[in-house]
Amino acid sequence: MSDLVDVQINGEWHQFPKGTRMIEACREVGAEVPHYCYHPKLTSPGNCRMCLVQMGMPPRPAPGAEPAQPDEDGHVPISWMPRPVIACANTVAPNMGIRTQGELTENVREGVMELMLANHPLDCPICDQAGECHLQEYSVEHGKGEGRFREQKVKKPKNVDVGPRIRLDDERCIMCSRCIRFMDEVADDPVLGFTDRGSHTTLAVYPGRELDSNYSLNTADLCPVGALTSNDFRFQMRVWFMKEINTIDTNCGTGANITVYARQGEIFRIKPRQNNSVNSDWMPDSHRLSFHWINDEETRLTSALAKDENGNHQVVTNENAYAIAAAKLSKYKGHEIAIIASARMTNEELFMVKRLAKHLKAKIVETVPRTGEADGYLISEDRNPNTLGVKTVLGLDDPGSQLESIKDDIKQGQIHALITLQEDLITDAGFTDDDLAGLDVLISSYPCANPTAERSDVVLPGGCWAEKSGTMLNIQGRLQRLNKVTDGPGTTEEPWEVIRNLQQALGGGNGIHSHTEIFNQLAETIPVFAGVKFQDIGDLGIPLVETDETLPLLEREKERVAQGLIVG
């Protein structure tokens, strides 16, 4: 264990490991230190001066004088320094005193706020950041309420297209340099910089260059003010109208932790949520912006469909759809039925798939693999969020390896009925019309209209990742919770409900009423999950399965922490 040092914060003595930053020590004991430029994942240049606090040390005795005697608690009285110090870049020292309150700190904070606002356009009514702006918040808490600056404000570039997804308003910038440091240190694409340093300091990209990294939108999250805003979210919704739901990203096996911002069932934006074991504080733009289709009711399936005698899809109630599907399926024996599920499904859904397959005695259960290039940061090669869940819950060793034999079996007339859940076989699994033509019965469930659904006898609308709850296992073997953001459109049901209802219509199955009930059954029947309680998973997940997968971005972060460059 590292050495502990005694530090007095606002009159109370505490102990911290040697080397702790003053700002982190204060945060740990609940003494708020306002700050702009400091970010635990980035280096600390100490340029905003907002975190100034009063510091004191035991006095050094004058030559020949007796050193001060410790009091009954063993602490030497503190001699306070007349000038403040920044808490972000200084570390604690033995018997140090820190005051985050009092006249000196209040005065310097007022002064810093006044200077920051001297050139600020004060355009909060039209600024996207309003409501989550640190400049607004600190103005209220630490500002003077008025400025004494009566001269012309410096004019700077506005509405600058710095990249395809980011827009810059330089007049709002407070020069904290978080975005520059993020692009330098984390995204390894140092295109941002300050030009014309001085009273005209301007955040800029080099002429002809762009802030087009796939991690560029993290700079908008980092920006404590409204200088960098997201083109995608700009002017869409006031932040205080939106509901925040913590869930996970399902675009790849990393399972980045995210917060989804939605209002009245519509998703407006997604932000990464800090999880030091998974995605640190970041997420790729490509994953963040891939939610728009969810809101698009034009392409979503909003009701169940069944083919009439002429082969045309007719809207039916969900109940009827299950009855029709069950009637069709019950004509076939188990060895004539195959199920293709999805590695985008939660563990709970996969458990229901397993249960359904057992009931039907289905010949084959398979899922569709999805791969892409790993980006060396947070995007995993595996573009399915729950491949490990498929392996663990369904017991498939090599998901996707039986897809070809399913095609062959259909061709040779061995499989007559196929149930596909949360996969579009034609677009994503390499099936052709010919492959499906040999089937007597095709039942599919998917969030959107798709070519496989067009050929299906019965189509059941199943919710997408934002419309369901459950758990998934990421590539590192971490069990994480997916939380429902909104109800699906029309008569969409959560996929586990779709499977349960289908099985009930087939005459098999007691009622299961919630995804947590399924989780309990998982924990009882699958050894890996043994003893895990749903409520223990929490917002940050728990490590469950040992894998040798690491995330390159996290490894580099650990190195920077070890070097003392960042707090982490």
């Binding site: 295109v191 910089g193 300050f194 030009t195 014309d196 340093r197 001085g198 800029a204 002429p207």
Partner: protein, 164 residues
């Protein structure tokens, strides 16, 4: 890139970089000085050449160039004049000196602002800009023409006669 850096200049630059073994970035100032001395100003081409040389993003070089008024981002005239405008010289008449220099050289400074400090005469012979303190506060107004230093400047005609 069309910028042609003479071989001996590049050799000189390479040698200068070796003075900064820890980080090539530290060599950015001396390299820019050498380049400006040769090309008379530091434009985008020069910045990009320096950035490539020092293995930096061009923005990191532009940061430095745009910070120091000593680096010119636009082309000066054949003779570049810098007039001190800091307090002592301003009180000793540097603004009047600027006006009369502009009048004699036919330079129009109406387009000058913070981002474009240099004005050039129509024939390209002279260019002029205000500079901050040139370190001779007791003998204002002072100015520099190229690398030559002039104190207590009152005879503008005589000064310009040396450079024509």
């Amino acid at each position: 890139m069309s910028l042609e850096v003479p071989a001996d200049l590049e050799k000189q630059i390479d040698e200068r970089i070796t003075h900064y073994p820890v980080s090539k970035r530290s060599a950015v100032l001396p390299v820019l000085h050498l380049l400006q001395h040769h090309f008379r100003f530091v434009n985008e081409e020069v910045i990009e050449w320096a950035a490539a040389k020092l293995e930096l993003e061009p923005i990191k070089v532009l940061e430095v160039v745009s910070f120091y008024p000593g680096f010119r981002q636009s082309a000066p005239g054949k003779y570049h004049i810098r007039v001190c405008r800091t307090l002592s010289c301003a009180m000793a008449g540097s603004y009047e000196l600027m006006d009369s220099l502009c009048e004699k050289t036919g330079i129009d400074r109406s387009g000058v602002d913070h981002h474009n400090p240099i004005a050039v005469s129509a024939d390209g012979t002279y260019s002029i800009e205000f500079a901050e303190c040139l370190a001779s506060c007791g003998t204002g107004p002072v100015c520099m023409v190229e690398d030559d230093f002039y104190e207590s400047v009152d005879d503008v005609d005589a000064l310009l006669a040396k450079y024509s």
